[in-house]
């Protein structure tokens, strides 16, 4: 194929890796976003001591390199005999890492909704949760979306680090092929890059589309 020794078998192997990359991204974003919304809501209105202690934990998650988090968590869970498989470990660690970033995105989005708009909602008899559900989160989402899309794309690339705990995702599968066919390294990396791009592109287009749609009403 393409005058190279890269075979369809290699491509299939890489696609399997790409599937894992997507699966880990999906679970990490799902878990991280749900937790991020909850933590963000808490952080947006908690007294300073709650905020401070939460902020410290989230800062640790944000600042310790992901690679170290994967290896540490994997070792701990194995020492404690939890018996989690590497895929689950990857999803859990990445979800926690994502939640730390997502919390700040959500907090920023909530605080961006003017207090006067929220007062108007409350003045109509809406309770706190109605205000949150129908006013604050829809409006805040517009502020959060660009950062959230950026986070998703970042997390997708960060999944590559799960190779450290033995998960063979897209980048790792490419490296395995390269080990066997070192002279094809450039072709294989180009294919891997293309796959990353093809997956990321729709996500960023979706983000741009939503932004444009919302802006039309503003």
């Amino acid at each position: 194929m393409l005058g190279t020794s890269v075979t369809w078998g290699d491509i299939t192997f890489m696609m399997t890796g790409a599937g894992l990359t997507l699966a880990i991204t999906f679970w990490a974003m799902l878990g991280g976003t749900l937790a991020g919304v909850v933590f963000g809501l808490i952080r947006a209105q908690s007294p300073w001591y709650v905020n401070y202690s939460m902020g410290t934990v989230l800062d640790v998650l944000r600042s310790v390199p992901l690679l170290i988090q994967f290896i540490l968590f994997n070792s701990f869970q194995s020492i404690l005999g939890w018996g989690m498989n590497p895929f689950v470990v990857g999803c859990v660690v990445l979800a926690a890492y994502t939640s730390a970033f997502c919390t700040e995105i959500v907090r920023g989005g909530i605080l961006a909704v003017p207090i006067t708009t929220r007062r108007a909602a409350r003045s109509l008899g809406m309770n706190y949760w109605q205000d949150m559900t129908y006013i604050v989160l829809p409006l805040g989402t517009r502020v959060m979306l660009p950062s959230w899309i950026g986070l998703t794309l970042g997390v997708m690339k960060d999944t590559a680090l799960v190779y450290a705990i033995g998960v063979i995702e897209l980048l790792r599968s490419s490296q395995i092929i390269i080990t066997r066919k070192p002279h094809e390294a450039l072709v294989i990396l180009a294919i891997a890059g293309l796959i990353y791009f093809l997956v990321s592109f729709p996500v960023s287009r979706l983000g741009a589309h939503l932004e444009k749609k919302w802006r039309e009403n503003d």
Binding site: P114, T116, T117, R119, A120, A121, R122, S123, L124, G125, M126, N127, Q130, Y134, I135, P138, L139, R142, W214, N217, D218
Partner: protein
């Protein structure tokens, strides 16, 4: 009836309301005039519990607003408020802005809510803007939408907080007309305003606020023609 009894309220070290008492009977229109920072707007926020108070009490139809256990959300459905910065919900159409609380707070069906909202929107002259987003409306139209949104909850009282202050001069008239209409229909209203002609024409009583106190309250004729307090006279002289 709204009964305000010796209410005090501070923001930090700054006392903005220093013992205000006032009653507003059903069907009455009371205008509140006075300079900026005199505590007028804060007073309105206290009446529907958007701001807590430090002492004194406020009763609305006998219910103490700031008592523990008072269901503020329920109380607020009886007290409509319109703000200086109209505060439209920008992600919802005019109709959705007006039906949201009807459906979610009062539990009306979509059809019922639409019917009520359309009636109110037509009442304020926005019957042709139902599907439009607030960003496409002028300030005056947004303010009228805010009035319709508050009215759709069928409140017994309406509070207006300098609702024309942020509008271009040519848009002030349409909003005042809407308020005149409401007053003529017998709505109980407390109107914080800088529109002296409006206060004079529409109100049953006018209260003059200064430095967190009501210095004088009386009929428009008395306040505007024969003010008893020198502060009132000085204020009116500065604005008329």
């Amino acid at each position: 009836m709204i009964e305000i009894e010796n209410v005090r309220k501070s923001f930090g070290n700054l006392e903005v309301i220093k013992g205000v008492s006032m009653n507003v009977a059903r069907g009455e229109v009371v205008s509140v005039i006075g300079g900026s920072g005199s505590g007028k707007s804060t007073m309105l926020m206290c009446i529907n519990g958007l701001e807590p108070i430090d002492s004194g009490r406020i009763l609305v139809d006998g219910v103490e607003v700031h008592a523990k256990g008072t269901d503020l959300n329920k109380l607020r459905t009886n007290i409509g408020i319109v703000f200086q910065q109209w505060n439209a919900f920008p992600h919802l159409t005019v109709l959705e802005n007006t039906t949201l609380a009807l459906r979610k707070v009062l539990g009306k069906s979509r059809a019922e809510a639409d019917e009520i909202a359309i009636k109110q929107l037509e009442h304020v002259g926005l019957g042709d803007k139902l599907k439009v987003y607030p960003s496409k409306l002028s300030g005056g139209q947004q303010q009228r939408m805010a009035i319709a949104r508050a009215l759709s909850m069928s409140p017994k009282y309406m509070l207006f907080d300098e609702v024309t202050s942020a509008l271009d001069p040519q848009l002030v008239g349409e909003v005042l007309d809407t308020m005149r209409l409401l007053a003529s229909e017998g709505m109980t209203m407390i109107v914080v305003t800088h529109e002296m002609a409006f206060a004079r024409e529409v109100s049953n009583r006018v209260a003059f606020f200064k430095d967190g106190l009501i210095h004088e309250i009386g009929s428009p004729k008395q306040i505007f023609e024969t003010p008893e307090r020198p502060e009132t006279a000085a204020f009116l002289k500065s604005v008329l």
